[in-house]
C-alpha cells in the first residue's frame, strides 16, 4: 500500500519537479518585472478576489438551503450547483454565451434594456470564474453545516434568540473553518480558471487576460516566460492549499467547543 501511495506522490510531484528543473531562474526578475505580466497578475488577483466575495455572499445561503431545508428536488438542485465542477470549462464558457451573451437567453435583455455587455469585459471574467469556483465553496460549507449539531441552535432558539442572531452567533462561528477553506478553495480555483474565461470573456491584456491566459499564450511566443508564470501560480496556489491543511476534510466539529 505504501508503494502505491508513494507512486501517487511521485506522480503529482514529478510534473512540478519538471517545471522547477526547466525554469530559467536567472531571468525571473526580468520576466516578472515585464509590464504585461504585472497587468495579468493584477487582473487575476482583482477578479479572483471579487469572485471569492461573490461566491461567499451567494454560496453560503445556497449551502444552508441544501443542508437544512428538505425540499423536493434538493438533490437535483445540488447536482445543478456542482455541475460546473465536472463540465469541461470550455463547454461552460459556451453555455455562458447562451445565457449571458449578447444573444443569450438572459444577456439579450441586459444588452437591450440596460446596454450591459458581459463578453469581452472584466465583469465577464468574474462571471466565468464564479461559475466554476462557487461550487467549491458551496460543497465545503454544506458539508460543514450537515455535520453541525443542530441542538445548539435549537437550544438558542428556545431561549429566545432570533433566527438571525442564532445564525450570526452560533451557525457562522461553528462553520468558520469550513467557510475559510471554502472561500480559499473558490479563490484558488478562480485564480487558475482558464477554459471558461477564454471562451466567454475572451483574451485582451488589461481587460480579460488573466494569468492562466497569459501563461498559455506565452507558451507559443516565450516558453521561458510561461514557465516562470506557471511557477508563480503554483507557488500562490500551493501556499493556499498548505495553509488550509486538513480543514477541507471537515475537522470543524471539534473546533467549536474544544
Amino acid at each position: 500500500m505504501l508503494v502505491l501511495a508513494g507512486i501517487s506522490v511521485a506522480f503529482f510531484a514529478l510534473p512540478f519537479a519538471g517545471l522547477i528543473w526547466r525554469a530559467p531562474w536567472s531571468k525571473v526578475t526580468d520576466i516578472l518585472s515585464e509590464k504585461s505580466v504585472g497587468t495579468a497578475l493584477w487582473l487575476s488577483l482583482e477578479t479572483s478576489l471579487i469572485t471569492a466575495l461573490i461566491s461567499c455572499i451567494f454560496g453560503v445561503p445556497l449551502a444552508l438551503l441544501l443542508a437544512r431545508v428538505n425540499f423536493p428536488g434538493r438533490s437535483f438542485v445540488r447536482a445543478l450547483a456542482t455541475l460546473s465542477m465536472v463540465l469541461p470549462p470550455v463547454v461552460g464558457g459556451v453555455a455562458l454565451f447562451f445565457s449571458f451573451g449578447r444573444r443569450g437567453l438572459f444577456g439579450q435583455y441586459l444588452n437591450d434594456w440596460f446596454g450591459i455587455r458581459l463578453p469581452f469585459t472584466t465583469a465577464g471574467v468574474v462571471i466565468a470564474q464564479c461559475f466554476v469556483a462557487m461550487p467549491f465553496l458551496v460543497l465545503t460549507v454544506e458539508a460543514a453545516i450537515r455535520q453541525l449539531d443542530s441542538r445548539y441552535e435549537d437550544a438558542a432558539r428556545t431561549l429566545g434568540a432570533s433566527r438571525l442572531y442564532v445564525f450570526r452567533r452560533i451557525t457562522l462561528p461553528s462553520i468558520k473553518p469550513a467557510l475559510v477553506a471554502g472561500v480559499a478553495l473558490a479563490w484558488a480555483r478562480a485564480l487558475g480558471e482558464f477554459g471558461a474565461t477564454i471562451t466567454f470573456a475572451g483574451n485582451l491584456p488589461g481587460t480579460t487576460q488573466t494569468m492562466p491566459l497569459a501563461t498559455y499564450l506565452a507558451l507559443e511566443s516565450n516558453p521561458e516566460a510561461a514557465l516562470i508564470l506557471s511557477m508563480l501560480m503554483i507557488t500562490v496556489s500551493f501556499v493556499v492549499l498548505v495553509g488550509l491543511r486538513d480543514r477541507w476534510l471537515g475537522r470543524q466539529r471539534n473546533d467549536l467547543f474544544s
Binding site: 475572451g202 483574451n203 499564450l217 507558451l219
Partner: protein, 252 residues
C-alpha cells in the same frame, strides 16, 4: 496487502504489454499530424488513400501548427507533418526532425468573417474601425493573428480588437454565436463552417496567401507509405479535393 499490491502490478504490466502487442504485422499504420484547417480535406483524401491502399491505416492528429511543432519536438510519434505555415515547419526542420526538405502543396487566403447574412453590411476592411464594432483576432504569435495584422497593414487600417483568441476556430466561434461582429480567418474555415457564417472577400492585392507545407518525419517507420500519401496530395485527385475545400493550388 502484499497480494493486493502484486495483483495491481500484474494488472499494470498486463495493460502495458497489451498496448505493445497491438502493433499488427499485416497493416502499416500511418500517423499524420496536420494543421487543423486541413481537417475536412485530409479526412477525405485519407479515405481515398485507404481505399487505394487497404494495407495502410491512417490516423490523423489535427491541432494548431504551433502546438504540433511543439509536440513533435517533444517526441510525438508521427510519420507526416503538414503545417499551415512555413514558420512552424521550420521549427521542426531546424531541430533536425524532418527527413529532407518540406514541400509546399497548397495555399490559403483570408476573408472577413461576419455573422450569418452580414447584418452590419460589412464590405470592406475600413468598416472594421466602426466604433462599437466588436472585432476579434488572435495574438501575432498565432499564424492567423500574424496574417490578419499583415492584411490590415496592407489596407492601411488600424483596428482595436475586443479579444485575442487562441486560434482561428476561436474567432469563428465568437462570430458564429453573434458575440463578436467580425474577424479575419482563412477562406477554407468559412467554407467549412457552411451557412452558419458569411464570408466577405478581401481584394487579392492586399490579401495574404499562407503556404501549406508537408514533410516526412525523420523517425517515421513507414517512409514508403508516407511518400505515397504526399504523392496523392500532389496528384490531380488530391489537387481537385484541395480546391473543392477552398485551398489555392500551386503551379504543377
Amino acid at each position: 496487502m502484499r497480494r493486493f499490491v502484486s495483483s495491481v502490478m500484474v494488472l499494470i504490466l498486463g495493460l502495458i504489454f497489451a498496448g505493445c502487442a497491438s502493433a499488427d504485422d499485416t497493416t502499416t499504420s500511418l500517423h499524420i499530424a496536420a494543421a487543423s484547417s486541413l481537417t475536412e480535406v485530409f479526412n477525405e483524401i485519407g479515405a481515398q488513400f485507404m481505399r487505394d491502399n487497404p494495407d495502410i491505416a491512417i490516423t490523423f492528429n489535427f491541432a494548431s501548427s504551433s502546438d504540433l511543432a511543439l509536440q513533435i519536438s517533444q517526441g510525438l510519434p508521427a510519420d507526416v507533418f503538414a503545417s499551415a505555415d512555413v514558420k512552424n515547419m521550420a521549427k521542426v526542420t531546424d531541430a533536425g526532425l524532418l527527413e529532407g526538405q518540406p514541400t509546399a502543396f497548397a495555399t490559403n487566403s483570408l476573408e472577413i468573417v461576419v455573422e450569418k447574412g452580414n447584418p452590419l453590411h460589412i464590405v470592406s476592411l475600413a468598416q472594421l474601425t466602426t466604433p462599437g464594432l466588436l472585432f476579434v483576432t488572435c495574438p501575432i504569435e498565432v499564424p492567423i493573428g500574424r496574417y490578419t495584422a499583415e492584411v490590415l497593414r496592407n489596407a492601411g487600417v488600424t483596428v482595436t480588437p475586443a479579444s485575442l483568441e487562441e486560434n482561428a476556430k476561436g474567432i469563428l466561434t465568437k462570430v458564429t454565436l453573434g458575440e463578436a461582429d467580425a474577424g479575419i480567418v482563412y477562406r477554407t474555415d468559412i467554407l467549412a463552417a457552411g451557412s452558419s457564417v458569411t464570408g466577405v472577400p478581401i481584394a487579392d492585392k492586399i490579401n495574404v496567401n499562407p503556404l501549406y507545407v508537408v514533410g516526412t518525419l525523420r523517425d517515421s517507420h513507414a517512409k514508403e507509405a508516407t511518400q505515397r500519401f504526399i504523392d496523392l496530395l500532389n496528384s490531380d485527385q488530391g489537387r481537385e479535393k484541395l480546391s473543392k475545400f477552398g485551398f489555392g493550388l500551386l503551379p504543377a
